[in-house]
Structure formats: structure tokens, C-alpha cells
Amino acid sequence: MKLLIGVVGVILCTFIGKILSEKYLKRKNFYSEFYNFNQKMKSEISFKQSTIKNIIDKLDNETFRCYLDEAVLMHNENLYVSFLSDEENDFLKEYVKNIGVFDKDSQLLYLNSVDSQIQILYKNSFDDEKKYRKLYVKLGFLFGLIFLVIVL
């Protein structure tokens, strides 16, 4: 009986660790899509001049797509992405405010100016995900093992 409770404890703690690490994955996917979006905007504006709605509709990441839908198309200024820091949320709001409001040349200038910043954010999110995601799962498993030892 004690062994069974201990094993359940290990599984539960590992699962909690996995859930806590999910934000790093979400953050990485979000920034990956953000970076892709910025690149797509640049190429679409230069050649096809597609509208932002058309570009948004083609996005894969649902969280990022929904954010842009609300922020750009519905003009909702009170959005907050829970897995991003305050500073990152502010940057995102600033970005949204500055797309679709300029002529072609000025818009390209703006998109190019934020390109490196988005790239850094994506790289950081990628590194964090790599570093912390496995760590959280391992820590969860470790706590589970400690629980198992205590129970036994």
C-alpha cells in the first residue's frame, strides 16, 4: 500500500513539474511565431501587400494568432499574456500599435528596426526552454522520489 502511494506521489510530482515547465514551451512557441510573423510581414509588404488579417489567418500558433486578432483587428489594448513578463507584454503592445499604421517604406523600416529585438527574445525563450523545461520535470521527479523514500 505504502509503495503504491509512493509511486503515485512520484508520478504526481513529475506531472506537476511538467505542468510548471509548460510556460517555457509556450513562451518559446509564441516567440517563434512572433519572429515568423515579423519576417512574413516584411516579405508580404514588399511584394504582395497582403492585409494584416490575411497574414494573421495563416499563422499556426493559436495563442499568438488569437492575441493579434484581438489586439490588431479588434483594437483591444488591455491584453496580457500570462507567460510573458511585464516588460515583454509592453514590447508586444508597442509592436501591435505600430503595425498597419504606416505606408510601405515606413512600415518596413519599423519592422526591420524591431527584428533584432524579436530575434533576441526568441533566442532567450529557446535557451530558457532548453534549460528550465527538463529541470522542472527532473525536480518534480526528485521531489516524488523524496516523497517515496519518506513514505517507505
Binding site: Q49, K53, L73, G100, D103, Q107
Partner: protein, 288 residues
């Protein structure tokens, strides 16, 4: 007709009126919203049209920004070529004139920012309004025609009806050069439409590729416009066009006016009745 770019409370007030009678809606920053109808000029409040300017809707900067972002689908860069010419057209052919601060670079306008006025011109389609003009064209077989009037007399409305009538009566290829997307309702088996292109490109590209027999185009303004028309007529293509002028004398004295291009000149008469003719002139500017 799609007017969903207008803020919802203003649109619901407009819907309480007879929308078909509306000619234009004017939004000027900080000023009352003015609705021009066939019955006159009115202000707008929650209950519809009013002649009293107290408690009427006042246009705010947010209204102008809202209208602009909806018209450009939040993608100003995609519409900037039209915007810098001072107008946008929505998907049902409603023409929206825009005024604001013009931004120049290398002597060329780049864009318009801080928009301060928007004029929504509701397109009308008056069936058979071109009948009198059409009769002249058919009976005389002179098909190089110029429709003359000051703004707001229904030149575009006449050209739209004329396009449809010519499509059904004459079995000829009709090309419409629709610079501002105002001929949205027009279609037919003999009709080709080139939209949002300047006249220079449309004339040069289309004469070679589409072999039109009749070209219909709105508002000859620049020297290039007149030259394009002259070249087309010299190539044996018939032109039906319109121009802003209040009289034949004013037209002849225009800087870029080219003589011996048109066979018939139609001077419009009444602002409220599209197609009513004041005078018809022959190629020597004599009243017929």
C-alpha cells in the same frame, strides 16, 4: 451597400433615415457630422437626421481613425497608393475622400497623416439615366464623347449606366478604366474593367492587350490623361470620358485641353437629376 466602416452609433442613426436618398456624409474633426441627401443638408443625432445642430453628433478624432483603420483593414501600407491620391474605395464602390497632412519626399507625396476630414460619397445607380446621351451616340455614330459638369452632377452615375447600356446594345469590346473602384456594379459580356490603375498605364497596357473598341473613363485631369485619350482616338478607339468644368468655354480654356478629340460634348444641367442635359455641343463647340 456596405457602410460598416462607419462607427456603429452613427451607422444606426443613419439606418433610421432613407439611406437611398443619402448623397454624402461628411466627417470633419471637431465639427458636426453632415449628411447631404436629395432633400438637403442635415445634421445627425440618435434619432436620425435633424436640422438642429445642438445635440447632434460631433465628429471626433477617434471616429476618423476608426473609419480609416476599417477601410484599410488595419493595413495602411496596402492602401497607401490610393490614400496618397486622397481617396479610398470600399468593396461596394463607396468613394471616401480624405484630407489631412500630406507627407512629401523628393517632391512626391508619400502618404497622408493626421486625417482631419473624411467625405463618404454614396454611389448611386440610376437606371436609364444615360438614355439621352446614348441616343445621341447611337444615332450619330459619333462615339468620342465628353461629359462635362462640376462635381456632384452624376458624371460617374451616367458613365456606369452608359457602360451597361453599351454592353447590351453594341456588340463591341468596352474597356472601363476605373481608377477609383467606382464601377463595382458594372459587368457584362463585352466589358473589361481595369481598376486602381492610373490612365497612363491602363491606356498603354490595355490597348495592346485587350483590344478595346470603346474606352470609358472618368475625369480627365492631367496632361497625361488628355494625351492618352488623344493617342487612343488616333488609334481608332472610341472614348467616352468625363471632365470637371461648368461650361464649354471653361473646358476649352483648360490648360491641357486637346482640340479635335471628341465629337460630342454633353453639359449636364441638374444636380439632383443625373442625365439631364443642359446643352449638347458638336466637335466645333456649337450647340446641337
Amino acid at each position: 451597400m456596405n457602410l460598416d466602416f462607419i462607427p456603429s452609433h452613427i451607422l444606426s442613426a443613419l439606418e433610421k433615415t432613407d439611406v437611398k436618398k443619402i448623397i454624402e456624409i461628411r466627417f470633419r474633426n471637431g465639427q458636426p457630422i453632415i449628411v447631404k441627401t436629395l432633400n438637403g443638408r442635415f445634421y445627425l443625432n440618435d434619432y436620425g437626421l435633424t436640422i438642429l445642430n445642438d445635440k447632434c453628433f460631433i465628429c471626433r478624432k477617434e471616429h476618423l481613425e476608426n473609419i480609416l483603420s476599417k477601410l484599410t483593414e488595419n493595413s495602411l501600407y496596402a492602401y497607401n497608393d490610393r490614400l496618397k491620391n486622397g481617396y479610398l474605395t470600399n468593396n461596394s464602390g463607396v468613394r471616401i475622400g480624405i484630407a489631412g497632412e500630406c507627407v512629401f519626399s523628393n517632391n512626391e507625396i508619400v502618404t497622408i497623416k493626421n486625417v482631419s476630414s473624411i467625405n463618404v460619397r454614396i454611389p448611386s445607380f440610376v437606371k436609364d439615366c444615360s438614355k439621352k446621351i446614348l441616343n445621341y451616340i447611337i444615332s450619330s455614330e459619333k462615339r468620342n464623347c465628353l461629359i462635362i459638369s462640376t462635381p456632384g452632377f452624376g458624371k460617374t452615375t451616367i458613365l456606369k449606366d452608359l457602360s451597361i447600356q453599351l454592353n447590351s446594345i453594341l456588340n463591341k469590346n468596352v474597356l472601363i478604366i476605373d481608377e477609383r473602384g467606382e464601377f463595382k456594379e458594372v459587368e457584362g459580356e463585352n466589358i473589361d474593367i481595369v481598376r486602381y490603375s492610373n490612365k497612363y498605364y491602363a491606356f498603354n497596357y490595355c490597348i495592346r492587350s485587350l483590344s478595346p473598341e470603346i474606352i470609358i473613363t472618368d475625369e480627365l485631369i492631367t496632361k497625361e490623361d488628355w494625351q492618352c485619350v488623344q493617342n487612343a482616338v488616333n488609334s481608332g478607339i472610341n472614348i467616352i470620358a468625363s471632365v470637371h468644368a461648368s461650361s464649354i468655354e471653361e473646358l476649352i480654356n483648360k490648360e491641357f485641353f486637346v482640340k479635335n478629340v471628341f465629337d460630342l460634348y454633353f453639359l449636364l444641367d441638374n444636380k439632383d437629376v443625373p442625365g439631364k442635359l443642359k446643352f449638347v455641343y458638336d466637335k466645333d463647340y456649337q450647340i446641337i
